[in-house]
Point group: C2
Chain length 376, copies 2
DNA sequence: CTGTTAGCGCATTCAC
DNA sequence: GTGAATGCGCTAACAG
């Protein structure tokens, strides 16, 4: 480990601490309020009223003119003085609602995802919800256990960002009847609300940009085959090319990583040496594509142009700056959160799909096609 | 909004949905198992035993030879068949432990933080804990409400990544007696466990690197003044320079953003036009510094070198690739999580501080100092 | 307007 | 080895 211990205090048990022992109240640190957090009962006793009255006051039901001004104030004062904080566990058990929402992403550490998380988190927080986050490494196995854990904590709903075409976990969730909103990736086959990038429009923008630069030999680096955006982006890629009387090759990455982008692009470049442009299904794949181009002894954008998708943070600082299709991550996340909140409030509402509008951002990784090399 | 509605299904209430109405069981979708998740009692009835027996079995207390092999198997079978899942809310209410940990970061969407979050999340998850995440925008006001929310859900412990020198929220947490582990930023004044980057060693590495390149006029772009790493990094910066018989200027950014890095660097460059190198307290500030250098009509690294800190993801792809001090985010996060778990298990244990070892990563943003311009 | 009552689902002490 | 009883802290009828 690249970690050094400063003030050591016992190495701590070697591994996996079993069941932690009961949280004993430190020492006889007695005195005033330390010992145990105050409960409704404590407040009630102190204020000389019944527990339920306190509950009502603290839940602002006093607004309905149901509580004496005086009682109300006294209770609030006592609560404040005692440092009362509602135990949401108890409340959740009673009401059946936890005000917790789970969010499942492929990787928390992924930049693009992080923006979505932020957008969703802000909205949820503003509505009094907490956000439980889990990474699955885009592995369905992990997804299942993570989701299971979220159901375990009785999350009121889930934001699911790892949908696949035949997603067993998703099927299960729907089956359980728990509110779910998909983001980023859809599941055409199911009636579930989703907030997705407008893959078709975005891809069209990108391909047309390449065409307008004179590119005729374009290849596409797709993502995993059973992900909705992969299908949509590839479909549109071929469609637009066809409209222009062209045909392009493509390959699929197993994961949305630079390594995979590199691998697929390398193969594609070998197979079609006349390639002058590559459209990647996402920015990380695009980065890998640029690596592959260089590795092949060519340069980007002089020899071959590259377009990404998503507009991940710092894309403008890369070398070359990445031409890509921008999707507002923050918006996507907050929309998904709002939709989920609405679904939780009204489980019966019909599924809705929102598409986040794409925007082409032209930067340095694309340039006019070179005069055909082979004809020289 | 850059969002379009596809299948619209009612715009949904304009804003803030008050208290969602009770989750009514959809329709008479009755039939078998849909309606309500099975409880211990359901399993007990179905298996013809008492609730407590089921509880014991499902908590593996059978291991102690306290349950008949037969009963054990039967119960497990029934539980599986009914799709029983433990209600952790109820369990938490009973045991006083939620198996939930809160994590407070300045910004979820920050790359460096994201890696830490990932490391922590993995460890926590492996130990059966869930992670609640909150962004504070590095604003103490937000921190308070976020932390309050976390205490509300009765988190068993907190990973606190926004500590300031006089941190009221932190003081409050300690007061409450809730297990806390700081990460990234420490609070010297308190006896709290922490996992921090080794600021001193890291800064020394960076400054010595610049000195070895022949730089003599070095400035430092520090972070917010009341953050431990700012203090440590600045202190070491001055110390190392002094050892070399030099003195450097510095400025403080209000936040760790590119904009602030730009602002501070611009000021510094104006004040000390002979500057040939800048040491930034973190990578984002470094990025801003590079912007400022260009804006001033100079170039990096030719005219002035820049060193960052943290080694954020993709730093190697920037233009120029960033020379920086690497800190393993993943390790830092997982160490913090482990420490917290240990603290939760044994609240009495003495505070420990772990320092994550830094490593200088030399890339393209630093170069040998030019011959002194003024002497030409 | 406020007090009483009754659990939410589970873990745990005590009997047998 | 298993059942019975109790209560975690809270909200939600229902009385008064």
């Amino acid at each position: 480990m690249a970690l050094r211990r400063k003030k050591s205090g016992g190495i701590g048990r070697p591994e996996g601490f079993g069941y932690p022992r009961p949280v004993s109240t430190p020492g006889g640190n007695g005195e005033a309020r330390t010992g145990k957090p105050p409960t409704l009962r404590d407040v009630a006793r102190e204020a000389g009223v019944h527990v339920s009255t306190v509950s009502r006051v603290l839940n602002d039901q006093a607004a309905a003119g149901r509580i004496t001004q005086d009682t109300d104030e006294r209770i609030r004062e006592v609560a404040r003085r005692l440092g009362y904080r509602r135990n949401s566990i108890a409340r959740a058990l009673r009401t059946g609602r936890t005000l917790v929402v789970g969010m499942v992403v492929p990787d928390v550490a992924n930049l693009y995802q992080a923006g979505i998380t932020r957008g969703a988190g802000d909205v949820l927080y503003a509505h009094g919800y907490s956000l439980i986050l889990a990474s699955t490494d885009d592995d369905p196995k992990h997804a299942e256990s993570q989701v299971s854990a979220m159901l375990g904590v009785q999350a009121d709903g889930l934001l699911y960002g790892v949908a696949r075409e035949d997603d067993a976990v998703l099927a299960w969730l729907v089956d359980e009847g728990i509110p779910v909103v998909l983001f980023n990736r859809g599941a055409e086959s199911r009636e579930i609300s989703a907030v997705l990038p407008d893959d078709r429009t975005g891809t069209r923008l990108a391909v047309e940009h390449l065409l307008s630069l004179g590119h005729r030999n374009i290849v596409h680096v797709g993502g995993p085959e059973d992900v909705s955006s992969t299908v949509n982006r590839l479909g549109t890629f071929e469609e637009v090319l066809q409209e222009a009387g062209l045909r392009g090759s493509h390959g699929f990455a197993h994961r949305h990583t630079e390594e995979e982008g590199y691998r697929v692009t390398s193969d594609l470049l070998e197979e079609r040496p006349d390639t002058t442009a590559v459209l990647a299904a996402n920015d990380r794949l695009a980065l890998g594509a640029i690596d592959a181009i260089r590795e092949a002894g060519r340069s980007c954008p002089e020899d071959v142009s590259v377009v990404g998708f998503n507009d991940m943070p710092y894309g403008d600082r890369f070398s070359p700056p990445l031409t890509t299709v921008h999707i507002s991550q923050n918006n996507l996340g907050s929309m998904a959160a709002k939709l989920l909140l609405e679904t939780i409030a009204d489980p019966g509402r019909p599924a809705e799909t929102h598409l986040a509008a794409p925007e082409l951002v032209v930067r340095g990784s694309t340039a006019p096609a070179q005069t055909d090399r082979s004809s020289l």
